[in-house]
Symmetry: C2
Subunit: 122 residues, 2 copies
């Protein structure tokens, strides 16, 4: 199905999708951009625990994969904005569905983790 986190074999759809949204912040980036957060600095404020460097890297990857478009305004101070492409839009429903499934089982999952931690202590 998929061979590596960054596989060489993209023979199945799953591997392709994982390649595109497999990055640590990519899904969130897509989500935020979709919701009107377009500038790098604003995106960063929404996920302070991520580094600007990492954000840039992932944004570039998303750009390379055709999910977002990078628009540069030749101003001073410099301004850059990211927008979803049609391709990127097409992915949103899938991400939302993934998120929804997770939310549907969130409590169960958190309980699982909590119990496990209690076990570990005991």
């Amino acid at each position: 199905m998929y061979e590596k986190k960054i596989p060489k074999d993209f023979s199945c759809g799953f591997s392709v999708l994982m390649e595109i949204i497999g990055g640590k912040w990519k899904s969130y980036l897509l989500y935020l951009i979709h919701n009107g957060v377009h500038r790098p600095n604003e995106l960063h404020k929404q996920m302070p625990s991520a580094t600007r460097r990492v954000l840039n890297m992932q944004l570039r990857e998303l750009e390379f994969h055709g999910m977002v478009k990078r628009v540069i305004y030749p101003e001073l101070p410099p301004r850059v904005e990211y927008f979803l492409t049609e391709f990127g839009d097409s992915l949103l429903p899938v991400i939302f569905e993934m998120n929804e499934w997770g939310n549907n089982h969130l409590e169960r999952f958190q309980k699982l983790i909590t119990d496990k931690q209690l076990e570990a202590v005991a």
Copy 2:
């Protein structure tokens, strides 16, 4: 949305889902088990490039997360089989959808990679 490949913050559904199927072979394992491949050795044959050790680890994680059930037959030679739980079943549609989206854009993506590689050579 999600903080780490193996995050500590499971406050959003996406992170939960990524925790569960984020492993290198997990989605494929679920898929194979769903399709009637139940025994570790058979599973391994379907993905020879994975190590038995890694497969075991990921199967155990899937078991821990309640996606699969491990059944041990006290025979000689020893036999073990994995089955999807209801919980695991509920995830399949999502995985299939992810796979379908990827397949729908597979050609485009492969072309992208190919072109990129040609670029790199030039």
